[in-house]
Symmetry: C2
Subunit: 199 residues, 2 copies
């Protein structure tokens, strides 16, 4: 019985949405991938509404067991971080409305999970994602590759023994200030070491 | 015919919600005020769900003509800004789902509108809000005073000639990167001049 994971890379212009089935033997199969979002010249309320409609439709279509979303850091990309955080809030609330647990993962965690290195670049992540999913090339649209990688990352954790408990404890950790601080510190450290996200 | 404004001071722990009727002669009447939110130890998804349910109920109950929400700056209160931005995203999407225009106002704008000074402290804002609304004391809960002040600020703009156009152009300005940048710069300047928000 596979765990269906929806991965979300939040953003206003490009919000990547993926659905991946992960079996207990770690075999992962791509169910679907898309990008929703609006150009920067659209009013903010309409941009957030597009994200809300997009995630609602994606969750209703794929009925995931868990939603894995990229953890947004206030330190990164200051010019776009507010919109990204607003989008992530809408996605998390959409999952919570449906009783679907939410897990947050950092970009470094995702890179490490799919490539073995927290410093991997976008191309390396795309290649490994294709290999893991038995595809001829990285999934398209390329903007959604991070969402696919997020889903795999979480599915591999979720597919480990005690999967559901693991998923919900990750969802729960979203509210733990101590855990958030620990991640933020780890991320800041990784960033200082030169692991900037190429965006 | 009064303009009904819902004011929202976004936050995860205390999200202030107000409803104020503002007539074309600037007379403002408090319709209702409340605070929704959850303690920091509640998981993030449940915290955001509480905000979503709270704003949905408030909008359905009061049926406002416009929603005025505090503009969140990434520079302010780094430790809480992500949660505040996530909450604001949910509020803006809730209004957009209902076709209600959204306007964003900075704390400095709100202070200037109700007290005449962008440097006013919380007590001065509370006193003026009480006076404007013909109340014996500042509205309670006190955590919602900013939401009430936001609603008055927007109502006074909205009650000026060309009210609805003004409201929607403010809503529209939410998406204008240039305008956002201008506000951010003005706010940063005000902050450097010592106008920190007492929170």
């Amino acid at each position: 019985m596979a765990l269906r994971v929806v991965g979300v890379d939040p953003g206003l212009t490009r919000c990547g949405l993926a659905a991946v089935d992960v079996e207990t033997n770690r075999r992962a199969t791509l169910v679907g991938v898309t990008v929703v979002g609006t150009p920067p010249d659209v009013p903010l309320d309409q941009r957030l509404l597009a994200i809300a409609h997009g995630i609602d439709a994606w969750l209703d279509r794929h009925g995931p067991d868990v939603v894995a979303i990229e953890r947004v850091f206030s330190q990164l990309n200051v010019s776009t971080v507010m919109g990204t955080a607003q989008a992530s809030g809408i996605v998390i609330a959409a999952a919570a409305r449906r009783g679907i647990p939410v897990a947050l993962h950092t970009p470094t965690e995702v890179k490490a999970a799919v490539t073995g290195s927290g410093q991997a670049d976008k191309a390396a992540v795309g290649k490994m994602v294709a290999k893991i999913l038995r595809l001829d090339s990285p999934p398209r649209p390329a903007d959604a590759a991070d969402a696919v990688a997020l889903a795999i990352t979480h599915g591999w954790r979720g597919a480990a023994p005690g999967s559901q408990a693991s998923a919900s404890s990750h969802g729960g950790s979203a509210g733990l200030t101590g855990a958030q601080r620990a991640w933020a510190e780890a991320e800041a450290k990784a960033r200082r070491a030169g692991t900037r996200r190429a965006r």
